[in-house]
Amino acid sequence: MGKLTIGCYPGLVGNMGYDFALKLADAAATKGHKVSIWFSGNATGSVKANQKHLKDYSTGEKHIKALLEKGVEICTCEACTVARGIKKDEGIPGVQWNAMHWYLAKIHAADRVLLIGGE
């Protein structure tokens, strides 16, 4: 089995890139691959716990929790996250908070790397 690292930069609300990243991670994990996701930029807004799941409105929490249960490693850029007013104790349990070196280490250890989005 391989290691896939996904860098996810787009914001979650109504964003196709974010949606794709989570679905691809799920498919890879289901096949037994080791998957790591790095959230940066506006994607970090998705790690806040207690998101209200409105009908036909994109949220990330339940998908993130499902991925964590499958063994997918998810880490949010701490600087990006706190810059958006989200505190660590407000985050979804199990999501890691760290700096860019976490992402770089995962990139170096991965067999495949996919960077989605970014300005």
């Binding site: 799920d26 498919a27 096949k31 691959h33 790397v113 996919l114």
Partner: protein, 98 residues
């Protein structure tokens, strides 16, 4: 290098693709990129489809836009997320996102 490029938008990315050097190039159409495989302008299919014989379109993204897998150009193989994972690990060395 065997390179797979995800094309996620319905605008021509040929200038970027032309600059990429790969012994094997794959194009995986996702999100609005699937329109390259389903839409003809003035009767002509997207020139993106002439770039390589290794063309794929994500079925979920075709169907969520109200189209059928049968609407996809015959040169393009319709794939599911699991197939994309297999392409990434088995058919290509590097992957990029446009």
């Amino acid at each position: 290098m065997k390179l797979a490029v995800f094309v996620s938008d319905f605008k021509l990315a040929t200038d970027t693709l032309d600059r990429l050097k790969a012994e094997k190039l794959g194009i995986i159409l996702v999100q609005n990129g699937v329109y390259h495989a389903t839409t003809k302008e003035n009767g002509k299919a997207s020139s993106l489809l002439d770039k390589t014989p290794n063309l794929y379109a994500l079925s979920d993204d075709v169907q969520i836009r109200g189209m059928k897998d049968a609407d996809v150009d015959k040169r393009v193989k319709v794939v599911k997320y699991g197939d994309v994972v297999d392409l990434i690990f088995n058919d290509f060395d590097k992957i990029a996102w446009l």
